[in-house]
Amino acid sequence: MSLQVLVFLISALIVLSGALGVVLAKHPVHSALFLIQTLFGVAVLFLVVEAHFLAAIQVIVYAGAIVILFLFVIMLLGVDRSEDLSIEPIVGQRMIAYVSGAAILGLLLAVIYSVDDLTGGTSLTGAIDRTDADGERVPDVNQLAEVIFTDHVFTFEVTGLLLTVAVVGAVVMARRIGGDLQPIPESALDQGVLADILADGDESAEDGASIEGEDA
């Protein structure tokens, strides 16, 4: 058994046990910690097939940012109640869920095993030569950079826009205005730009106040 296979099997065990932990843990914090276990296992699996850049991103973005965001929200909301997994709000829902899960797995495995071994096949985009002029293997970071900033540059820009929209949306949805709106202090009114804006017309200020009043 080669080292690759050994690493794969150990990582697969870590990934699957972590995934089961996410689903079965009663406490959301435990679920989040099991999720970190799964994500690290996936990062190791990325390393096995020489996707070094994605492995690094997996650890930094997923384990470092997304799971921390989950934990942050869990702590913020004080969701410290455990969930009783035996309660079934919709009769038969759990059984249907297990059956559909097994059906999904069966379908996927049927598709996978109906296709011959992929290695050596041709892809839609055409396999890219991974060696440079000297016969050295080009690092995956260089290859990724070349493809993303040439063929997929528009997609790349759009994802940047998507992230911006997501951040703005999160701020708008998560902000809270408590109590009545406070008048702007007189001292602030005396200073330059703000005074100019307010002098432009009180009606725009009133519009803003009424919208924010509804939120509160």
Binding site: A12, L16, V23, A51, Q93, L108, L144
Partner: protein, 101 residues
């Protein structure tokens, strides 16, 4: 025994199924989001495995974009959860049936 792309596909299928079942049986919206993350990671595994099997970097590019969209999705989803929890303490997915259009 040689490692092939098929191993990655099978592991991805298992992980995807576990995530799907978790999404269906859990009621805490936060845990449901984590199960969605599991399913996204299963797809990422499949992409990377096939990219390796076909010696084509295109699969890794797809994973890169999936990760970006997943990050955006989590940000928006958690903001919605926070907004709901403010109004109804300890809301579960079932409680959202009170929503009326």
């Amino acid at each position: 025994m040689e490692l092939t792309a098929t191993w990655y596909l099978v592991l991805g299928a298992l992980l995807f199924s576990i995530g799907a079942v978790g999404l269906l049986i859990r009621r805490n919206p936060l845990v449901m989001f984590m199960c969605v993350e599991l399913m996204l990671n299963a797809v990422n595994l499949t992409f990377v495995g096939i990219a390796w099997g076909l010696n084509d970097i295109g699969g890794q590019v797809a994973v890169f974009f999936v990760m970006v969209v997943a990050a955006a999705e989590v940000v928006i989803g958690l903001a919605i959860v926070v907004a709901i929890m403010r109004r109804r303490q300890g809301a579960t997915a079932d409680d959202l049936s009170v929503l009326r259009g």
